[in-house]
Symmetry: D2
Subunit: 432 residues, 4 copies
């Protein structure tokens, strides 16, 4: 039995207050779904089986180039980050794995493994970092100001490749099985970079990383339209990402971050195309209204999140072969990061549960009959269903909290760690 | 010697007025370029060798779903359209080929060939049409309301495939060597279409067309973000387009219409990626500020057009192997279509000429040195050069007009055809 | 008692099938809302009081510049359009008024009033049309190709003003109390129009219309980012719209069409600002993913529609003084227009009902405490509530159909009118 | 005579190398313009009279939330920043004024004035900062995490108002005559902020600042679509900005930052509308492809910059009354900031010079005749003109460098200050 950062008593006391209401709501929903031919328990069990990794960097307060406003009790290192991740998992029961970021989270691997095991956590995909300089790292003396894997200078490329291989090695030691490669490489001005040569250099570097990949590992390349580069970005969209995964080989897949696309783009269709190409590697979940806003999943456009899950459920077996990685990647600037991650995991499960409710046989019938109205309403009916009782019941069955944010607030965890963890010196930002 | 729709006397009289000024401007530019190590005559010769096809449908007045406001003397059929195309070519000397659209331009092939030959014109890529119904065509009784090549009903798909094969056959008869396949297939509501099955059906149909392709033909598939479908479009972006070209085979290529992308997308980078993938088939040139606005090439963002050509010139040999098709695809709603096409061809050549002026050795040096400032200025220097005298001289050497729009206006052509061609009955539009 | 285009027996038979299930769902929801301190009956009554006008042009099949694919039984004139509108109202009970478009709907005013009265319908805001030419109208010989109210030629402006005044006069005769002025005026190329002089001419014309407005009328000006003009549009956004309403006077207000904004724009905030400025005149409801897609309200981004209604409910008394007009403006290209309008009115009421469920006191508390998490969840909780039983019960109490689309299909109305109304000759479109 | 940070000998030596070529190019251009009826000297004189302020923060290296990669010799305080600004002015002669940012640039006012005077610089609009916390400032103990002028807590609002008044007072002491108010206030989630109450609080605070404005001062409010807030921003667009300026009074004006708009927005039209409303206060010049990219002015879309200046020149007298402030606001992430500012000021002058070349009488004629082609070409002709010799000659006549970036590089200034100014400790960023 794992360590519990929050006294389980608190969870149970909070649950008791809500047990009766949940039972009533769950029964009412169950009856309603039953009329639609859906067994609510089967949905609960599927939801219980659906998990999403949290990012280690997500438990700190994020910010913008203008400012970062830290919250109280911010974790000061990876061990404290794992404590916070354990809170999220204890209450929400949806996030048993953590995605690490190197060098930010570098530590003794066995200590890490031990700590995680004690908290009931494991490690999902590793993340390398060649979008920042690491002046204190003797193995990375060269600057990434003008790129990393696609840099004009072969020495910088070699350094960046080496760093990625280090991350893989580190990940192996802690039981990870995948690496996510996101780079900021690109240019700010037309002409600054040769668009084709940059890409060729990227491919050469990526191939060197790929060559060092253990047999049971996967490499996820991540595309992004812009930021930090503001004119061209080397891996700018899923088309380029697909070319990369094709060039690299069968262990290479494309990662879809929901906030990394051009305005108005139909993201669920990209998901569908990557499934077709057998190259969907996984997701960085978040929500966005403007750019890579990194808001809480489902907070701005919940229907879009549902439509992504509709594609995943629709894909069925094809997806099982791909078993995409589900990870959250968000920036929590104005909320308690623990709360945002609990809530986001819940929203992701919500979208999944709603997608499970789609009457696929009926949908297919409407599609084949070109009955746009009924097809549209078929999806909407599933989306409109308030599956909150299913999500709560799934948590409850797994020992989590019926209302995890309420339980978290009741626990006093934030105040406790605020007392233990002195505020970091600077507030960062102000880069403009 | 081909028929000339405009009395060549007019051209010469007009040219005489401008000859002296052109000579002076050309000399001054030549001297200035000489200082930059560029031989102006070599540029003129390259420009003379660069041509772009005009679309047969472009010589009529376009419109929107709200209204179409026809101009005087609109061509009533393909033969009159060819007359108008011949004017464009006579004056501008940049557009010796015409791209036909079937069924709009269906006619007796030998009559077409003869007419074109008499005007000094030839035929570029053919365009099929399964985005409209053709109630008068006995071979197309079924409606494309809900799609064509990706339709849920195999009978509609078969009809659409057959239409495309007919277009290829027709194209063979008139000397074309390529077919552009653009479809409006997609959906207006989430759920209406199965995103993956639609695509699979599209591929099956496209393969059937591809199988019927003569050995020396190319198939261009064209992507478009949206319109006429407003939720999902089957061939929505270059990523999907690439998958298609890969699935079909070595005669299949991707066509890039400059107005078919999401807001803010870096189009020149897509061009670069398609060259890398050896799948760049060609262009539909136009300009756009909002959606698929189909404005005159270079009229809204001339620097973007230059940057596309910068990629083409940069690609050098790699591009020669691909020899992409250059075609205009615009909608002329408020201008005389003949003038817009003359001007657009000129703007396209302008971007090409400017791209030829880029000091590629210096640029490469700046790029390798990460000198973003000098690299950026290197491109800008070429772009800032007013190459108007080069364009005019290229036309002059080919017997065209120094100022083709002035010559066109002087010719009285529009008034003449307005007298000969009665106005069409309806003004269309008003669909909302 | 009004004429009923559909046998009320059908409605009742259909309702009987669903009565028991509705009662059960309504009770369960009522109980759940009761726990949240909300009386379900009060919500039902508010929903019953909320209506939205349908556009006369919406009952025909829409299209794009590429094609229009007409459906069976399209209304051939305003009287048949009113029949279709009466079906929508009979079944949905949310749309007692119709918005007419002149000249499309011109007819004898007393005949119109009589017909409408017999169907239980009335007339909402009038719509003028100076975005098309009307060659058959002796009072409008001049073309609007280059603009109307802002045209460079004072004669065209005078004609357009006169047309608007005619529409007001016509509207008075049939009991309307408002005119919506939407123009397509703008330009396709930088330079084509003088941006400031065009606007000044627009204002001069609009003032002339305003001067002719009856005392109890309102003038709604409608902004739109682009289309049919593709470089600049005279009334391009709410800022310009606000200037207009301010310049005209107290009877002038701004109309917000949900699809007329730039990508990513926060529309609910514009609504809030217009309420602040006391210039919110009303809405053209629809949904959009890319441009002015004119899709069914709430079909693509239902949360956004909810957020708009959240502003309206939040505004409370301030809004009552403004009593904005609620109108649908959509293009039904792939659905039966009657079904789309029934469904859209329902979605609009859904957003309204959900907004009524927001715990405003709690929300305000979270906002004042800067508790972004709880504030966000407070809105989400209301949005997640499946208010379908409330909407159905509201209809039922008013004699409408519990499931109006099912009732419509059961009625056989479309087949009946398809038999009575021969298909229109051309399918339009193909303007490109 | 002011101190010159760079030995004027260097400038003269460099100029000598280019003098002959400039004379030749200038003569050729002069002759060509003469044929168009334009006296080149008059243009040179107007260009000499056109200046733009540089931002003090612009001489440091910018960055993103991901990283900041500092360059050598970064200024460590406002005095060194002024030295760098003096280099820009010495070589480019277009930037005699500096815009300060408080608290970043706080120093003894008389020392500042003296330093600036010694360098031949003066101070343009002041900038306050309530988008960051200032933990070391005893007058600003409260956090702006959840807003400043619109904060829910009146104490925070009072603190922010007070800060702005302090900035005005400081500005008075150094001879400034305007304050630019840009705030990051907004929300990241629907519900987090009450959209209308936030705005009302903002207005109340802004009025308090306005009340403290000296008679000869102007207040510029600056709108921005998003960032740092990602759902709603209190001053999100020019419509809201206009409402603010109207509410405040005759000393309040709207500032237009070219990168602060929604995708595809026609910015030059906003400029035109603000001139109409007599509320155009000025500009923050920069360029952008995606969001608020803060790239060098004219580097990504030079034609757009030209179109903005076309409006300014077109406005003529109306603009003189407004005398808008011209300021650069950019983030220099990959270039030497001094070079970027020299180049940007040059590009701004270029756009101005090109706009001066527009044949306004002809343009007006084409517009009145609805000759979209000729109107478009009329603007293009001016834009295509390579005015580089005019810009160089204007600098030369003012004692600046013919090629200021070449002169800067020849001067060795960067190496010199790199030796004098030790690198700052941290590289910032990494906020994610």
């Amino acid at each position: 039995m794992s360590d519990r950062p929050i006294d389980q008593e608190v969870v149970e006391t909070e649950n008791e207050k809500r047990q009766k209401e949940l039972a009533s709501d769950f029964a009412a929903l169950g009856e309603s779904l039953d009329r639609r031919g859906v067994a609510i328990d089967a949905v609960v069990e599927k939801v219980r089986g659906f998990t999403v990794a949290v990012p280690s960097w997500g438990v700190g307060t994020g910010g913008t180039r203008f400012a970062r406003f830290p919250g109280p009790g911010e974790p000061r290192g990876i061990m404290e980050k794992l404590d916070d991740c354990a809170v999220i998992q204890q209450l929400g029961r949806a996030t048993p794995a953590v995605s690490l970021h190197i060098p930010w989270d570098r530590a003794d691997p066995s200590a890490l493994k031990e700590k995680a095991a004690s908290l009931g956590l494991s490690f999902d995909a590793m993340n390398s970092n060649t979008f920042q300089d690491h002046p204190d790292d003797p193995k990375q003396p060269l600057s990434y100001k003008f790129g990393s894997l696609s840099h004009a200078d072969p020495a910088v490329r070699a350094q960046a490749v080496e760093h990625n291989l280090d991350v893989v090695e580190f990940g192996q030691a802690i039981g990870s099985r995948a690496i996510t490669v996101w780079i900021g490489d690109g240019s700010n001005f037309p002409g600054q970079a040769d668009l084709s040569r940059s890409f060729e250099r990227y491919l050469e570097s990526a191939k060197a990383i790929y060559a060092g990949l253990p047999e049971d590992w996967r490499l996820f390349s991540e595309h992004k339209m812009y930021e930090p580069a503001f004119y061209s970005t080397v891996v700018q969209d899923w088309g380029t990402n697909l070319l990369i995964a094709q060039e690299l080989g069968p262990q290479a897949f494309c990662l879809v971050d929901l906030g990394h696309h051009a305005p108005n783009v139909n993201i669920e269709q990209i998901v569908s195309r990557l499934i077709f190409a057998q190259k969907l590697g996984g997701f960085h979940f978040n929500d966005a209204k403007y750019g890579d806003d990194d808001l809480d999943a489902g907070s701005v456009d919940p229907f879009r999140l549902f439509l992504v899950f509709n594609e995943l459920v629709e894909a069925g077996e094809a997806l099982e072969r791909l078993h995409p990685a589900h990870m959250i990647d968000q920036s929590h600037n104005v909320t308690d990061p623990i709360e945002s991650l609990i809530r986001s995991a819940d929203e992701i499960r919500r979208a999944y549960a709603q997608a499970l409710l789609v009457d696929r046989k009926a949908l297919r019938g409407h599609q084949d009959a070109n009955d746009a109205m009924m097809a549209s309403e078929c999806l909407k009916r599933a989306f409109r269903t308030d599956v909150t009782p299913i999500l709560a019941e799934a948590r409850r069955r797994d020992g989590g909290a019926i209302d995890p944010i309420a339980a978290y607030r009741a626990s006093g965890y934030r105040a406790k760690v605020a007392a233990e963890r002195p505020a970091s010196k600077g507030s960062g930002g102000g880069i403009v």
